[in-house]
Symmetry: C2
Subunit: 188 residues, 2 copies
DNA sequence: GTCTATAATACGATAGAC
DNA sequence: GTCTATCGTATTATAGAC
């Protein structure tokens, strides 16, 4: 992938997380990426939606990789989820709560009116969910229950990020970490 | 409160939930409200932000009232939370997932750049959380633990709404309902 | 691959009449 | 209380040169 294209996608990923879809302009993406202004529609003929989809999917894969790595090196699913949520809390705090969930805002904004971006968000959330589910199954929890637990953990993380960003406080994530480890342990 | 003002606030509440802050234009609010176009800046001299704050706070109180009513008429906190989440699921499904969390999208969009709207969202979330906490305390759960449980329930609901809207499926809310009742029951 | 210029449209907000 | 007209400034996207 060319350098300009890569820089555009990286800038878009960050801006979409921090500001959401509608508040992020193409001019700002180009400006902050440092890429040439003329290359935007050369690399992304379909414009903003194509850039955003590319950025979302790249973010999704990066996050999924982080999830798998953290869960994989933990001694149990419960420990892994706790470490995962703590890591998210540190990341949000370090960004002064400008990071607001890698795709949450865009997922909410575009669910009704962009089939393309909505599908991307669906697939990304599904990948994350599967990663969580697999680690819980490895711990010996039955498939159906592991599935439900993975969904609850994912929802709790998403919601706790919303609250943490709103309050500029990672407390909600810490509460979620405690509750989710408790819930997973109780499933055995 | 005058009729035009009330209609503007009602339309704004609905549009902000369905579309978020940046995607909702003043012209659309006026148009769908049926209020006279000239009355917008008469009732809300500070413009879009003032309309939005008013709409958010009104929505917040309406939802808080619903929460208290549902929790209050339930035989236990766990049952109440289950009924609450099921009610939310039916509401989202009935709207074809256009309802996307009464304030979630706006909370995420405006957290960084509008002190005024951010504070409103903080206070609304806090009210909801207190309503949850109080009902859990009534069930005999200790204050600290009830506080954490309320935070987790709120986060799970917020996150499950994000996932439900994204997938156009109330499954995430059903999973959250099951898990949250389990978690609350385990606290006794 | 990259540039500039510009089309076409929408936005929030204000002024001043009535 | 309500109206219209308008200002200034964004936006996405395209055309055509280089």
């Amino acid at each position: 992938m060319s350098d300009s294209r890569r820089k555009i996608v990286e800038a878009a990923s960050r801006l979409l997380e921090e500001q959401g879809y509608h508040a992020t302009g193409l001019s700002q993406i180009v400006e902050e990426s440092g890429a040439p202004k003329g290359s935007l529609y050369y690399y992304f003929p379909d414009g903003k939606r194509e850039i955003s989809e590319t950025a979302l999917r790249e973010t999704g894969q990066r996050v999924e990789s982080n999830i798998r790595q953290i869960l994989g090196s933990a001694s149990s699913a419960a420990k892994g989820v706790q470490t995962l949520i703590e890591t998210i809390g540190r990341r949000m705090e370090a960004s002064n709560y400008q990071a607001g969930g890698p795709i949450t805002t865009v997922a909410l904004e575009t669910a009704p009116d962009s089939k393309r971006l909505n599908r991307a968000c669906q697939e990304i959330y599904n990948d994350w969910r599967v990663a969580l589910r697999n680690r819980i199954v490895e711990d010996g929890v039955g498939g159906d229950r592991a599935d439900r637990l993975a969904g609850t953990v994912l929802a709790s993380i998403e919601g706790a990020m919303v609250l943490a960003r709103t309050h500029q406080d990672r407390g909600p994530l810490e509460e979620a970490a405690t509750s989710m480890t408790e819930l997973i342990k109780a499933a055995h």
